[in-house]
């Protein structure tokens, strides 16, 4: 009766989405969500390496305290562009636009997303936004910091703020349309029997992500637009000369940009839920708590933006409210971590590469999340805000969280996406290298930050050098670790062993079709009669605690 044995593997010789039609045009005009996911994968990887080169330049500059590698104007542009590229063009679309695009229809048993043409459109919009931004970078770059704080960005910066803002504005629509597509798909396209509480947690987290995308992105869009408009007009609502308040910009900016952090990490959490359950062959402990915690994060994430503004003239009472809510939003994340850990209890854990990334994620996310509490605590934040402590904290979430999950997910679904296996040994090796390199890069920054080293400094007092040397050393290891998967993924597309339909022997819907899947995903529309992560029949379920049967298996 076990689902992994009960379904028949389709024969591998069938036509799949990769070879169904040929030619460049068939890719550029495709409406297949899987192909669009690959288009995204390619473009996102490009932006990741652009952002990575900037990161490398930052670390090289900070190796010595004098600021001798780059001029300060160059350095300011480099860290700004690192942030803009990584946040808007890599992290935000990373998991949703690639893995989400590929897997959401497959996991719910649909043939495609609800609006395939809009899906393709959103890739083109992403590309257009990217091109405009790259143009701005090549034309002379932008030096406002990715936060675009006024009045520096509106009046004082002599760089390409308008063009960059336009690029981000355009890119925002890509994000909005992706989120819209996901929500409609999840509501209307589920296969018969795929009830809400049978959906994989990956879907739940993407649903929550999409909520943030559609509710938050428009606000950053109008904010960036108003900044650009204000630069052109020379006056505006953020300009103190007209009685405008520069702090209003920060409210409007962080209304999106704090939830944006959850756009980045929620899909990662979804990936981790998949990895933890599937590589320990156990259903997720407290499924509904993990599912609802995603929604809770999406809602509470909107109530905490003021914690970026504790040292601004924001009123101390508003600061108090924002601080309180920031602590509240930590709870759903904690629930997830505890449930993932509990899932492993009495499970059957494999040491495959994706699982290594998942375990690394939990450890790093714990540190990232806990150091977030330092920043939510008003008094400590006053000291550490705008220092390297903040830099370290959000890299633990964005790199230690999102990037780890992205790489883990990419390894996990690689056989499904390409029909090829990646080299497992190299996979494990690179996962370890990345983990070590990451920690070496960012742990010292916590110390440097508490010692008072401000962020965005091109030169710094010599007593901070030791931490920066450690950090740069770690970054080189991290960079090296990133190159390994880049090489073997490309290699495996041609030379990797052929993957069978279900190489990991898992029950999820995406594994119940051939690898790579046919264009329509499934031969016939599947009828779902099982729960997510149902490795063993429900009657074997072990009940923890005393309240037998209290747990509704929906």
């Amino acid at each position: 009766m076990r689902p992994i044995e009960s379904f028949e593997l389709p024969s591998p010789s069938k036509v799949n989405y990769l070879i169904a039609v040929y030619g460049l045009k068939s890719w550029l005009l495709t409406k297949d969500h899987k192909r669009i996911a690959l288009l995204y994968l390619g473009s996102i990887t490009f932006f990741f390496f652009v952002g990575g080169i900037y990161a490398l330049m930052i670390r090289l500059e900070l190796l010595t305290p004098q600021g001798d590698f780059l001029a300060s104007t160059t350095y300011n542009k480099v860290f700004t562009q690192h942030g803009i590229i990584m946040v808007f063009f890599f992290l935000i679309p990373s998991i949703p636009a690639t893995l989400g695009n590929f897997l959401i229809p497959m996991m719910i048993g649909a043939k495609d997303l609800a609006f395939p043409r809009i899906n393709l459109l959103s890739w083109y919009i992403y590309l257009l936004g990217g091109i405009v931004t790259i143009y701005a970078l090549l034309a002379g770059g932008v030096d406002t910091g990715w936060t675009f704080y006024t009045p520096f960005s509106t009046t004082f910066s002599n760089s390409y703020v308008v063009a960059t803002g336009l690029g981000i504005f355009i890119n925002g629509f890509s994000s909005i349309l992706t989120g819209l597509n996901f929500i409609v798909t999840i509501h209307t396209m589920r296969a018969p029997g795929m009830t809400w509480f049978r959906m994989p947690l990956f879907i739940w987290s993407h649903y929550a992500t999409s909520l943030i995308m559609i509710l938050g992105t428009p606000v950053i869009a109008i904010t960036v637009l108003l900044v650009a408009f204000e630069r052109v007009a020379g006056v505006g609502i953020f300009n103190p000369k007209l009685g405008g308040d520069p702090i209003l910009f920060q409210h409007m900016f962080w209304f999106y940009s704090h939830p944006a952090v959850y756009i980045m990490v929620l899909p990662g959490m979804g990936v981790i839920s998949e990895l933890i359950a599937n590589f320990s062959r156990k259903n997720i402990f407290g499924y509904s708590f993990v599912a609802f915690s995603s929604l809770a994060i999406a809602v509470f994430g909107f109530l905490v933006w003021g914690h970026h503004m504790f040292v601004t003239p924001q009123s101390v009472y508003a600061g108090m409210i924002f601080s309180f809510l920031s602590f509240a939003v930590a709870i759903p994340s904690a629930i997830k971590v505890f449930n993932w850990t509990a899932t492993l209890y009495k499970s059957s854990i494999s040491y495959d590469t994706p699982m290594l990334y998942a375990l690394g994620f939990i450890g790093l996310f714990t540190i990232g999340g806990m150091t977030g509490l330092f920043l939510a605590a008003l008094a400590v934040d006053v000291h550490v805000s705008d220092t390297y402590f903040v830099v370290a904290h959000f890299h633990y979430i964005m790199v230690g969280g999102t990037l780890m999950a992205y790489l883990g997910g990419l390894h996990y679904w690689w056989p499904k996406i390409t029909g090829r296996l990646y080299p497992e040994g190299w996979g494990r090796f690179s996962a370890l290298v990345i983990f070590v390199g990451f920690n070496l890069t960012f742990l010292p920054q916590f110390v440097a930050g508490y010692l008072g080293m401000p962020r965005r400094y091109h030169a710094y007092p010599p007593e901070f050098q030791v931490f920066n040397v450690l950090s740069t050393a770690g970054a080189s290891i991290l960079g090296f670790g990133m190159l390994i998967p880049a090489i073997y993924f490309v290699w495996s597309m041609r030379y990797g062993r052929h993957a069978e339909a279900n190489p990991w022997h898992l029950p999820g819907l995406e594994w119940r079709t051939q690898s790579p899947p046919p264009t329509e995903n499934f031969e016939t529309t599947p009828i779902v009669t099982w729960d997510a992560y149902e490795f063993a029949p429900p009657e074997e379920t072990e009940v923890v605690g005393t309240l037998r049967g209290e747990y509704d298996r929906a």
């Binding site: 409609v184 209307t188 428009p218 006056v235």
Partner: protein
């Protein structure tokens, strides 16, 4: 043609059914849901500007009243009427599509388009007045910087010209963004008219008409708020 479609249950029948949907009902539902979600993003988009408006209106009530009193209330009110009427004709267009009456449907769509363009025309007249009064904020129009004449606008007690400029900045941002939405809406209407003339829509398949109708009504609603906020609040202070 239309009748036959209405009569046969659409299993795989309708030519407008896209391959990845099971039936027309699912396709229509997805379309409507999608447009509503898009409207949510639109609400948040305008929300940012409404926030700025509310904040500065609270901080500088006299200046905002002075500036707002200078706007042409007649043109504003007429435009409100025009837009409401266009919303009505749009609703009727949806009605006639649902009931399969294609001639009045096209007529209603054309009327809606004409009314929309009328609105934009009146708006252009208003913008031109602001241009001649030198009330375009900052250096948006090169050579026609915002006025420095303190009598350009009748300033109420407590108002400064700088704050008046702030009002006009917000005024142009909001009405400009609204007008942009109208222009996009006009384009969408044009598409509807062309495809209606080709007879593409019928009671079975009218998602585009319905969905673009939703968009049009939304743009109307934005104006329903913009009109009192920009033109009316503070009028009662005028004769003090």
């Amino acid at each position: 043609m239309i009748e036959s479609h209405a009569a046969t249950p659409e299993i795989h029948g309708h030519p407008a059914l896209q391959h990845h949907f099971e039936n027309m009902e699912q396709q229509r539902e997805a379309g409507t849901l999608g447009m509503w979600i898009f409207l949510v993003t639109e609400i948040m988009f305008f929300g940012g500007m409404f926030l700025a408006y509310t904040l500065y209106r609270t901080l500088y009530p006299e200046a905002f009243a002075s500036a707002s009193n200078h706007l042409d209330i007649t043109l504003g009110a007429v435009n409100t009427g025009v837009l409401i009427l266009s919303s009505f004709t749009m609703a009727m267009a949806v009605y006639f599509t649902q009931t399969g009456k294609s001639r009045p449907q096209v007529l209603c769509l054309i009327l809606t388009l004409i009314l929309g363009l009328t609105f934009l025309g009146i708006k252009a007249v208003e913008y031109h007045q602001k241009y001649t009064d030198r009330l375009i904020p900052g250096k948006l129009i090169p050579g026609a910087e915002f006025t420095t004449d303190p009598h350009a606008v009748h300033l109420l007690e407590g108002a400064t010209l700088k704050q008046v400029e702030m009002f006009y900045y917000i005024y142009f941002a909001m009405t400009g963004m609204h007008a942009l939405h109208m222009i996009i809406g006009a384009g969408l209407l044009l598409y509807l008219i062309i495809f209606s003339l080709k007879g593409r829509f019928d009671p079975e398949y009218h998602s585009p008409v319905e969905v673009i109708g939703l968009y049009w009504h939304f743009v109307d609603i934005v104006w329903i708020f913009l009109f009192p906020l920009l033109y009316l609040l503070g009028r009662h202070l005028e004769h003090h």
